[in-house]
């Protein structure tokens, strides 16, 4: 049925629109025929008349917008209502997989506590409904009064929508927008710039590797595309072909699925990378070109094995074995991310990890690492508008303008997600929130503009460069928008027009189509010129209009494997343009420990349940047992068995975590997988609002972080390396007990006995 026969890496422009619509006319017949047999009639009969709709199922293609990865999905709709999300088998990023968060987008769409109409804070101090015209006029007036003190915070995924916010900011005279994105992306880009010469997210070819050393990258926990990496992991480890080694202090879901887990001291990940490099350089297995490439990056000698083992807090034999296995592997690959980039030395640690790829010859080869290239549609829409800036700059902006600031927040919740932002937030005189929910920020806003969720809107996304192949994915709305919600891009355009700075498009879709048209024209004029697409992608289109129509109908543009390329620097082994030496990851700016007898390193982490907090308002996800702690509903602290024994903490006890600025109380879960001296707490809990399922559930671990700790070199917040005191408070009251999933063959810990060979059920 698919126009490209499911082949990966081929242009998708041959796919017709109808290929994405699967009409199961048989569904209606199924209701009629389903009663033929008595037993089947008994098993299932649609008794809930209000929803037992007689219409046929229609499967519509869409793009999951729960994170910026760009997984393609199919949505089953019945009589214009969305019923089920499944992965699109030919999905460019996800190849049929969808994570738990992606499935739950239906509960975001049909959430009972969505913002349904524009609201403005009235004289009483309460938010009151207003018309869209009034809301836009109020917003435009505020922006026009102080354009240079206006800051946009955009939570859009990379692609044209982000470009539109840049264009909006430039148009109304505001500063460059703040891009609200996962915490480690800014650090990852900077590490890639140092090691590879390009500030793009590296693209990892995990599926074709045979040995993956993941330094902190929690790729099965929701980092980038969990669906993509789960599939790649399955290919890597199928039939024990390849091996995964995970390096991080916390036993994440990725570590749980690794063949080896190296629980190094938090902040020592980069040191481990340097130590492994030293062993590889001394092993005699490294080629001259690779050695030269690496020593260009690091002229100094790496630390020896004993120093590395001491610093990392793990057995030297395990480091030796790791280096030996890496040198024996045919297609080794080193990934960096997550907790390795969280600390004050995150950039240095990331660069040290990425540089190992140069030493292993993994840059630009199958099963290695590629440059994270894209087609540049964000820039096409943005024009010459300034690039976005990282979230950590937000507080400085608000602090610096004397309380006359206008804050436009779209699809972001900085009051919940940014440590210590409350004080700076008070410097905003007017807050305009584009949101589908009353989250912590929206609750404090002066104007609330309801926006559509992913399934209601036209989408154009440049997906995460997980495979090194550029793409632009486009999808039409799956269902009609609920209530008065509008597309955030359309709101941006309407705001610009109301402020007297109209942009040349009536809507976001037209902006995307115009950028496609421009790209076609540039390519036709000069296939090698600036702004051109690979010529292959426009082959067969007679004119720009036909190209735009064909591309939008086909669901976007997907490059080919030939368009992958290595990052620039390691290819230049002569050292041209190389830095004098990458920063030493040995330093770690740990915060001062609060007074107390026990000081632990806090490890905030994102669980598969709540992600960065976005999933907290879905009942499916709140009631989903965390795969490692099995906790449902709320937050918890992961404490090592050894520490718990010493401190007298039993599972479920309420413990207090005290940082330099705040303290939080939450139930303890005692696990044998936590590195002693560390305490893990999931982010994403403790919302002030965000709907009935999230309001007041759990605690916000960001309270323990502070805004004055940054990752050296980029100014991003350092959430790793924070020291906290842990003390047992009490046995939990009934209402405080952690909600632990109570079912099991036996309660956890032990392996069931009595398993037997399968007889196919025929005995």
């Amino acid at each position: 049925m698919s126009g490209n026969d499911g082949k990966r890496g081929e242009p998708r422009v041959t796919i017709g629109r109808r290929d994405f619509f699967k009409v199961y006319a048989a569904a209606g017949v199924a209701v009629l025929q389903g009663c033929r047999r008595r037993d089947e009639e008994w098993i299932e009969s649609p008794v809930r008349r209000s929803t037992a709709l007689p219409g046929a199922s229609v499967w519509r293609r869409s793009i999951c917008g729960q994170c910026g990865a760009g997984c393609e999905i199919e949505v089953r709709t019945v009589d214009r209502l969305a019923k089920k999300i499944e992965g699109l088998p030919e999905g460019f990023v996800n190849a049929g997989g969808v994570c738990a968060l992606g499935h739950s987008a239906l509960q975001e769409l049909y959430h009972p506590d969505r913002v349904t109409e524009p609201m403005r804070r009235g004289a009483s101090g309460e938010l009151e409904p207003v018309s869209w015209e009034e809301a836009l006029e109020s917003a435009a007036t505020a922006i026009a009064a102080a354009p240079d003190a206006t800051t946009v915070v955009a939570g859009a995924p990379p692609g044209p929508l982000l470009g539109l916010w840049r264009r909006f900011a430039a148009s109304v005279g505001a500063q460059a927008p703040v891009h609200w994105q996962p915490a480690d992306v800014v650090v990852e880009r900077e590490a890639a710039r140092l090691a590879f010469g390009e500030a793009t997210r590296p693209a990892y070819d995990m599926a074709r590797s045979d040995y993956v050393l993941s330094i902190g990258a929690p790729f099965l926990d929701g980092w980038r595309s969990a669906a993509h990496f789960a599939g790649a992991w399955a290919e890597l480890t199928a039939d024990r072909r390849g091996k995964l080694v995970q390096v991080e202090a916390r036993h994440s879901l990725t570590a749980a699925n690794a063949d080896d887990w190296l629980p190094v001291r938090p902040g020592s990940e980069g040191f481990l990378a340097r130590g492994v490099a030293g062993l590889l350089l001394g092993s005699g297995t490294v080629g001259e070109a690779e050695r030269a490439a690496y020593e260009t990056l690091y002229p100094e000698a790496p630390p020896d094995l004993a120093a590395t083992a001491e610093r990392c807090g793990i057995d030297a034999n395990r480091i030796e074995r790791l280096a030996a296995e890496l040198s024996r592997a045919e297609r080794p690959l080193v990934m960096v991310g997550g907790s390795a980039l969280d600390g004050g030395n995150g950039v240095a640690a990331g660069a040290a990890g990425l540089a190992l790829n140069a030493l292993l010859g993994a840059v630009g080869r199958e099963g290695g690492v590629f440059a994270g290239v894209d087609f540049g549609f964000e820039d096409r829409v943005a024009g010459d508008a300034e690039a976005t800036v990282p979230p950590a700059t937000l507080s400085d902006r608000l602090d610096g303008a004397g309380g006359s600031n206008v804050l436009v927040v779209s699809e972001a919740d900085p009051l919940h997600g940014m440590p210590g932002f409350e004080a700076a937030f008070k410097g905003a005189s007017t807050v305009i929130a584009l949101s589908a929910f009353f989250d912590d920020t929206t609750l404090q806003a002066d104007l609330v503009l309801p926006i559509q969720t992913d399934l209601e809107r036209f989408q154009a996304v440049e997906p995460d460069p997980v495979r090194g192949i550029p793409a632009l994915l486009i999808a039409s709305p799956t269902v009609a928008p609920r209530s008065e919600a509008r597309h955030p891009g359309d709101v941006a355009l309407a705001l610009a027009a109301a402020a007297g700075s109209a942009l040349p498009w009536p809507g976001f879709q037209e902006a995307v189509e115009a950028s496609l048209s421009d790209a076609f024209t540039a390519t036709r004029a000069d296939a090698e010129g600036a702004g051109a697409l690979p010529a292959l992608l426009i082959t067969g289109a007679l004119n720009a209009r036909q190209f735009v129509r064909r591309t939008t109908d086909a669901g976007g543009l997907v490059g080919t494997a030939e368009m992958r390329r290595a990052p620039v620097r390691p290819a230049q082994v002569d050292g041209e343009g190389a830095p004098a030496g990458l920063p030493d990851p040995a330093s770690m700016a740990a915060s001062a420990a609060p007074a107390g007898v026990e000081s632990f390193t806090l490890i905030p982490f994102e669980s598969v349940k709540l992600g960065d907090g976005r999933g907290a308002n879905r009942p499916w996800l709140q009631e989903l047992p965390d795969p490692l702690s099995t906790v449902m509903w709320g937050s918890w602290a992961e404490v090592a068995t050894e520490d718990a024994d010493r401190l007298g903490i039993h599972g479920g006890d309420i413990v207090r975590l005290t940082g330099t600025a705040a303290e939080i109380d939450l139930p303890a879960i005692v696990l044998p997988t936590v590195r002693p001296g560390c305490v893990g707490v999931p982010v994403g809990g403790g919302h002030a609002d965000y709907g009935r399922y999230a309001r007041g559930r759990g605690v916000n671990v960001n309270a323990l972080l502070s805004t004055d700790r940054h990752v050296a070199g980029v100014g991003a917040f350092a959430r790793g390396g924070v020291r906290v005191r842990v003390e047992r408070l009490r046995r939990p009251r009934r209402s405080e007990r952690p909600v632990i999933y109570g079912r099991g063959l036996r309660q956890a810990e032990e392996i069931p006995v009595g398993w037997a060979p399968h007889d196919g059920g025929k005995a």
């Binding site: 509960q107 749980a256 699925n257 709140q622 509903w633 044998p672 956890a748 392996i751 196919g760 005995a763």
Partner: protein, 233 residues
């Protein structure tokens, strides 16, 4: 005669729980809220069991999806006083919701603890109910429920094949958990068809039954090559 069966490759399961949410979405499984969940009344038809082996730092973690095993000799069936649960001709342990009077004897007798009881009527505050699957009933309070192997998908697959005047082909019917699995750790099909994928998986030297010594003759096959598994006799 068909016997529907499932095979789950534990070596491919990452414990990501996408299948758990997919199952809830497909089968209109209610969430019960924090207080009821604390009382052990969560309604999942499919759960991911987690096992640890060893001590820090040499800890191994394993995950095992557990759902109704659709037993050939099901301990849950003979204890039902009203015959609300029975074995259908295609090997499913079927539930007649309208017959169930809520004695919970079946749950008590299930060694896999996969049956869940509706202590209250399901609540789907509008417009959350817009998502409900019209092919699956919403169970009332006082009724036991469990995995059906997505019987509505089985029926739809059979009907589609009948319309096209052919037999159901292997792979035509995919359960919600199977479809959602990003590592393709689950397969589903006819255990009586020697050429089906599920039959081939069941013949693997890595295949075993969960609590097989109970002789419940499960329709779910697990595969694992892990060294911690009890060695086959």
């Amino acid at each position: 005669m068909t016997r529907w069966g499932m095979a789950i490759d534990l070596d491919r399961c990452t414990g990501c729980e996408a299948c758990v949410v997919a199952c809830a979405a497909e089968n209109n499984i209610q969430t019960v809220g924090e207080e009821q969940a604390r009382e052990g009344r969560a309604m999942h038809w499919l759960r991911i069991e987690r096992y640890y082996e060893g001590e820090f730092p040499n800890v191994r973690t394993r995950f095992m999806p557990v759902l109704c095993q659709q037993c050939g000799a099901a301990p849950c069936e003979p204890v039902c006083p009203v015959y609300a649960t029975y074995r259908n001709p295609e090997g499913l342990n079927a539930m007649v919701y309208s017959r169930c009077i809520g004695t919970r004897f079946c749950a008590n007798n299930c060694p896999y603890t996969v049956r869940v009881f509706n202590w209250f009527d399901a609540e789907f505050p509008a417009p959350l109910d817009s998502q409900l699957n019209p092919d699956v009933s919403v169970r009332p309070g006082g009724v036991m429920e469990k995995c059906t192997f997505c019987v509505q998908r089985i029926q739809a697959g059979k009907d589609e094949a009948a319309q096209e005047e052919r037999d159901v082909a292997d792979g035509d019917i995919r359960t919600a958990c199977q479809q959602s699995c990003p590592t393709k750790a689950i397969t589903f099909g006819d255990l009586e068809d020697p050429d089906s994928e599920v039959s081939k998986w069941a013949e693997s030297p890595r295949a075993f039954s969960l609590l097989g010594d109970l002789d419940t003759r499960p329709g779910v096959v697990y595969l694992s090559g892990s060294e911690w598994r009890e060695p086959a006799e």
